[in-house]
Symmetry: C2
């Protein structure tokens, strides 16, 4: 089955890429060797790190890049190129592929920082220009999403289960499928999205919604009164539940009790009850206790409850207490049910997790939807794709905003770690420079501020770019679980102050002295002196 969105095609682009390609082609510049960098200027979510993702989709796109005959016909018939457009352009376009393109990239899942090229694309100007919009689309949201998920993971702590529940609120079908994929990569445990589970082989979780609960009115709705026990014998169940319910002195919503019984009959191995339809503490929890106790007597192990409204910290603590009390007040002939998993959902965001931690809570698993998948706190990452070299000469994108100026030329990038094991600085050098070495003292300079300099003697050097495409795909991509492990491993090895939610410390991104001089000289040469009068 197709694991990739059918919309990922060369035509998934801004028209200006095609009009520019025509302009290059007419000016006979389309074959000039070009280098583009894809990078962002600011970390999302007021944070100081970003998780790079989307590489696998990028490689798929490069590999399949080819305009269909139908695409070419559409372009010809549209008025984009004028009535007198040169037919030879369309011939060129129809034969275009990525066989002359080289892609250097960060490993998928790498923690990345502003100004660093996540991708470096080399090749003839025409084709490399045509890749821009699609590459940006394929990197921006996945990286944003993986970053958001990693932030939720940091806020929830390592031990909690994090479940992505956002499909219904996601920005389109693919928004939903991508959200599931990249929140898993960012450190979630599972998704509710079945298609994503199938496509990417990631765990899928889910139990019931309120409609299931409210579809039952009373115990007489239950045509089946028994349950099949682990020994495969049919044993009475409704009566057992009723008996326990009476012994415990519970008075609750009967339809809700019926729905719990029906669900337990269908999922005796995996009984999780949604307890807030009528009254969490007054009805949902007592009903759960009755069914959970009955399941235990029959030989099953009930799993958990889900809270979907109200004060989650308070309710979770209260539920835990009620479970403990119920266990101790059970009549002697009844076996107590095991520890119950408490799942919480309901519009949870990163700040809610932080607040829940402060209040203390008894939640084991969080179901997170809207805030996670739409990245509500900042729904777009601002990656850009800039020409940094043409015909072997550096190119500079100027701007009155310093952060929008692009560091020119073809660059190597290294992650330098110190004695204590954590990364200290990422260093960019010109590709033509020799490799830097462990133990060597390296002057690392802020690319924009001449007076910000630091000497580093790295204990470990990691070269961050690898070539992933040179006309064909390199075969060795890690699988999604390995990418996720890589993200979690980095969340452990980076200094916590770079990762914390409140006022994180910026991680250093530097250039070596040669690149600094080269950059500043070019900038001085290119920048206009403004005239004011």
């Amino acid at each position: 089955m197709q694991t990739v969105n059918s919309f990922i095609r060369p035509l998934l682009t801004d028209l200006y890429q095609l009009t520019m390609a025509y302009g290059y082609w007419k000016a006979d510049k389309h074959q000039e060797p070009a280098v583009f960098d894809l990078h962002f200027r600011k970390n999302p979510f007021a944070g100081e790190f970003t998780v790079f993702a989307g590489l696998e989709a990028v490689l798929h796109f490069l590999s399949d890049f080819r305009f269909s005959e139908e695409d070419i016909d559409y372009l010809k018939e549209s008025s984009f190129f004028g009535e007198k457009a040169d037919p030879a352009f369309f011939s060129w376009l129809s034969e275009l592929d990525c066989s002359e393109v080289k892609l250097y990239a960060m490993k998928e899942g790498t923690l990345v920082f502003p100004q660093e090229p996540l991708l470096r694309v080399e090749g003839p100007l025409g084709i490399t220009q045509l890749l821009e919009t699609t590459l940006l689309n394929l990197v921006n949201y996945p990286s944003l999403m993986a970053t958001n998920a990693a932030r939720f993971r940091l806020a929830a702590g390592k031990e909690k289960l994090l479940l992505e529940f956002g499909l219904r609120r996601a920005q389109g079908p693919d928004g939903g499928v991508s959200a599931s994929r990249y929140s898993y990569i960012g450190g979630f445990n599972a998704t509710s999205n079945v298609l994503a589970g199938k496509l990417f082989k990631i765990p899928v979780k889910g139990t019931t919604a309120h409609s299931f609960i409210s579809s039952f009115s009373s115990l007489s709705d239950l045509k089946n009164r028994s349950i099949v026990n682990p020994q495969e014998n049919e044993v009475p169940f409704v009566e057992l539940v009723q008996d326990i319910h009476k012994k415990m002195g519970f008075s609750t919503h009967e339809g809700e009790l019926a729905s719990f019984i029906a669900y337990a009959q269908s999922f005796p191995h995996n009984f999780v009850a949604l307890v807030d339809t009528y009254d969490t503490l007054g009805s949902g929890i007592p009903n759960f206790i009755s069914v959970a106790t009955a399941l235990t007597q029959v030989g099953y192990s009930p799993v958990g409850i889900r809270l979907d409204s109200g004060d989650l910290a308070y309710l979770s603590k209260k539920c835990r207490k009620m479970f403990t009390e119920a266990r101790s007040s059970l009549p002697a002939e009844l076996k107590p049910f095991p520890r119950i998993l408490i799942v919480a959902s309901n519009d949870i965001n990163e700040a809610t997790l932080v607040s829940l931690n402060q209040q203390g809570h008894e939640i084991d698993a969080f179901g997170i939807g809207t805030h996670l998948v739409t990245c509500q706190a900042q729904p777009a990452l601002g990656c850009v794709y800039k020409l940094v070299e043409l015909n072997g000469k550096p190119r500079l994108k100027l701007s009155q905003e310093i952060a929008k100026v692009t560091i020119p030329g073809k660059k190597e990038i290294y992650r330098l770690s110190g004695m204590e094991g954590y990364p200290l600085v990422d260093l960019m050098t010109q590709v033509k420079e020799p490799m830097i070495e462990v133990g060597q003292k390296i002057l690392c300079r802020d690319p924009f501020k001449a007076n910000k300099r630091v000497n580093v003697i790295p204990n470990k050097i990691c070269r961050l770019h690898q070539c992933y495409w040179d006309g064909k795909k390199h075969p060795s991509l890690p699988n999604i679980h390995e990418v996720r492990d890589y993200v979690l491993e980095q969340l452990d090895t980076f200094r916590p102050d770079h990762l914390r939610q409140l006022n994180p410390t910026p991680y250093k991104v530097a250039v070596d002295d040669n690149l600094f001089q080269f950059f500043q000289d070019l900038w001085l040469k290119e920048a206009p002196i403004m005239e004011i009068s």
Copy 2:
């Protein structure tokens, strides 16, 4: 070609829909006749209206609904239903389609309000439950997007061109394609997204990016020195531009001038220049004036400029003034170029448009990306899908939050307009009630507040729901241009205070007296009396 995302399939759902379906099936409830309402509780963007969209995709989904053999295998092999899951369930699932489903819906593009069912889905409980997540996904983002676009249209005014430029920042490929489709429906004029243009037959626009400009270093980069004039003769062009440039006394960036010439050679009919690469007023505008004047001499009509940074109000006014001055200072032998279109882009949001209007500006067209397509001001619409009737009996979803309580039963919905032509109130009644009539005095009640009542004598009544599916698709859907016209027409006929950006007046959504009593009685009956001690 496939106009629909390949991910829109029955498996694009939350697992709990499938586990609930199994629960219904095991309890022999899956064939019980059910009614679900899809509605939202709060208008987005702090506004008081929403544009309903996504219906065409919904109908496509219903029409194609069928689990593939591969889907069924995946479900069987996964542990979702336990090892002992009943194989007959999978047989049922593999034959399931929407032939027993009925869908009533608002017309696509209708202005809608909280609590109103956008969709009413009728059919057996099993299949109607299984539709939930996908229907929500297919309505939530399209409606949010169309609403956002309509708000930009209201802010920009009717006459301005609005161009959607958001593909690169959208949430995934489909997020981009949907954004283009639904921003057109919401009142935009065109998109930059070529695939969306092809799929939906909507206008596509685009010219150049900064990389095109910076790919030229000097006039010697131009191998071709001529242009083909409208009479199809090759005439010298670079020299003509240089000559004009000299006569005007301009001193500018030569690479930028070269890029403008190259673009004019490729697009003489549609010359639009991006003027902010080096220095908008010092280089971009003078270079544009030279090339535009030369094009005019040759017989073409230059089109416009694009501003992509800086103070857009100030720059647009200054540019307009420079064009006027250039026209009057042209040597007598030169024809003046026509009125120039000023396009502005750069992180524009609704508030920017309002502020530009206040400052006064000379912008004719806005290119809008990130804020539009990600709906940055509120990236999700909170549509929900609630069981309102089962086996002919009303169902109520309770909540401690009043706005989260669902109005039970199968409902008709009417839009009542008054003497002055604009809509006054939307009224819900029980389907079994007789149709309401023009001229009749109708008591309209707030569904939640007993003391809020208003008598209305409607001058015009529009029944908002139509049946769009009853086992097969009804054929008569309007095309995308008609849907857009319908949206724009409503933006004209609704009272402006409902639509304004600041403190809009809520539009009334009411129930008739019978539905009010029915609802309140049920609520009193179902709501638990809480115990506190």
